[in-house]
Symmetry: C2
Subunit: 271 residues, 2 copies
C-alpha cells in the first residue's frame, strides 16, 4: 500500500498525543500530517516541526483558524488576533496553510456573518503575506450553518475568494461537507482554474448519522464517491495530499493502531 | 391571534388521530390542515375530506409522495404506482397538492437519483393532470441527501421543474431545509416568477440539533429568520398558508393541547 500521498489529521487519532502520532504515522509510511492546534498545547512548536520533518512527515496544514463572526466588535477583534496567533503558529511549525472553519454565531444573520468572515480574513492577510502562510476556507456542511460556519457551499467560499482576490486565499475542500452539492463538479473545476484548491480532505458520510459532529465514517463506510471526487480535484490540477480527517466517537474509542491500519487500507481501497 | 392563514400538518400533532386533530384545529380557529397519509390509514378518505370541510378547515396538501429513486426498475415502477395512489388519495380527500419528498437510496449516485426523480414525476403527471392535483417538490436539507432526497437546494428543485416544464409541477419550500442557502432570496424570487411556489412550511432549526430527523424546533426556538423568509415568499407572490410542520420527539411527548396553543402563539410572534 502506497501511503506517500496520504496525510492524517492529528484529530483523527485524537487519543494519541502528537509525540505518539508522529512516530506511528512515520512507521506506517504515511507521507503527511495535518496538525490540530490543540495537539501543540504546551509544546515548543518549532521543535515539533523539526521532529515531524526528522520523521519525513510533510506538514500539510495547521487546523484551524476562523470563527470570525461575533456579535460584538471586541469579539471580532479578538477573533482576528486569535487567527494571527494561528498564522504565527503555522509559520513556527513550518505549515504552509492554515485551514479556516470560518465561524457562525447562533441566531446571527448569515449574510452578516459572511461579511464578517471576509473582513476577518482581509484583516489577517498582511500577516499571512509576511509569513507566507496560505489560508484555506473550508466550506462546512449546511448542518453547521448556525454554529460553525456561515460558508456552506464551495460557491460561497469561492465568492469570498473572489472578493478578496489574493493568491494566499483559497479553499480546503472536505468531501464530507460538499459531496451532496449538485454544483460540485463545476465548483471544483472553477476552484482549480483560479489556482485556489489548497487542500482535499476525505472521510465518509454515514447513514444513519447519529451525531452531527462526531459520527463521521471511515472511507468506504458511507456513501461518498471518493474516487469520483479525487478524479475531479485531480482534473482541476490538484496534486496535494489526501487528508483523512475523521471525527468519530466510535473510532476514537477503538484501538488506535488498528484504526490507523484500517485508515491505510480504506485509503488504498476507496480513495 | 389570527390563525386564519395558519395551517398545521397532522404529523406535527402526531399523538392525535386525525379525528381529534380536526376538532382541535377547528376549535382553535386554525384555517388550514395538511394531511399526512398515515393519518388516513383505515379511514374513508372522502369522508375525512368532508369532515374537514365541515369544520371549515382548508385542505392545503397531502403529505407525501416521492421516494422515486430505486436501484431496480421494479422498485422504480412500484414507487411510481405508490405516487399514483397518493395522487388519487389527494383527489379523494380534496387536497389540491401532493408534497414530494423526492427520495434517495443510500450509496446510489446522486445524479442518477435526480434523473430517476424527474422520470418518476413525469410518469405520474398524466394522472395528476386528469385529477388536477399539483405536485410540490420539497427540497430537503443536504443532511438528508443520502437517504431521503437527492434534491437538496431550491436551485436543484427548480432545475427539475424547468426540465418538466409543467404548470402542475412546482416547489414546496420548507424553511427548515433551505434557510442556510446563500442563494435563497434569488431562488425564492425565481420560483415566484415561474408561478411554482406552491407551499411554504415553517418550523425552526435548533442548535444543538440532537437528532437529524426528529429534533425540529417550534418557531422562535431556533435561528431561522422566518419573518424575513415570509417577506421573501410574499414578495414573490405567495398568498397561501403558513404550514407548521414539526417533527419533534420532545414536542410529541408534551401535552398536545398546550403544544397547539404554543404553535399559535409562536406563529403570531415569529412568522
Amino acid at each position: 500500500m502506497d501511503s506517500s500521498r496520504l496525510c492524517v489529521h492529528t484529530i483523527t487519532t485524537k487519543p494519541w498525543p502528537i509525540e505518539v502520532a508522529m512516530d506511528k504515522y512515520a512507521a506506517a509510511g504515511i507521507g503527511g500530517i495535518t496538525v490540530w492546534r490543540q495537539a501543540l498545547e504546551g509544546r515548543n512548536i518549532a521543535k515539533v516541526g523539526d521532529d515531524l520533518r526528522a520523521r519525513n512527515l510533510e506538514i500539510v496544514s495547521l487546523c484551524r483558524g476562523g470563527f470570525f463572526p461575533n456579535k460584538t466588535p471586541e469579539g471580532r477583534a479578538e477573533a482576528i488576533e486569535e487567527n494571527r496567533r494561528a498564522i504565527r503558529e503555522a509559520a513556527e511549525l513550518g505549515a504552509p496553510l492554515v485551514v479556516l472553519v470560518c465561524g457562525a454565531v447562533p441566531g446571527h444573520p448569515l449574510a452578516e456573518s459572511r461579511k464578517q468572515i471576509a473582513d476577518g480574513i482581509a484583516a489577517v492577510l498582511p500577516l499571512a503575506e509576511e509569513l507566507n502562510v496560505r489560508l484555506g476556507i473550508e466550506p462546512l456542511h449546511p448542518m453547521y450553518a448556525d454554529d460553525r460556519s456561515a460558508i456552506n457551499t464551495m460557491a460561497s467560499a469561492n465568492a469570498v475568494c473572489d472578493e478578496l482576490d489574493h493568491p494566499l486565499v483559497g479553499l480546503a475542500v472536505d468531501a464530507y461537507h460538499v459531496w451532496w452539492d449538485p454544483d460540485l463538479a463545476a465548483q471544483i473545476a472553477l476552484t482549480g482554474e483560479k489556482n485556489r484548491l489548497f487542500a482535499f480532505h476525505v472521510c465518509d458520510w454515514l447513514t444513519p448519522t447519529t451525531d452531527l459532529l462526531n459520527d463521521r465514517g471511515l472511507m468506504g463506510e458511507g456513501c461518498i464517491d471518493l474516487k469520483g471526487m479525487r478524479a475531479l480535484v485531480e482534473a482541476a490540477g490538484f496534486t496535494g495530499y489526501h487528508e483523512v480527517e475523521i471525527f468519530s466517537n466510535r473510532w476514537w474509542s477503538a484501538d488506535q493502531d488498528e484504526f490507523l491500519a484500517r485508515i491505510q487500507q480504506a485509503y488504498a481501497e476507496h480513495c
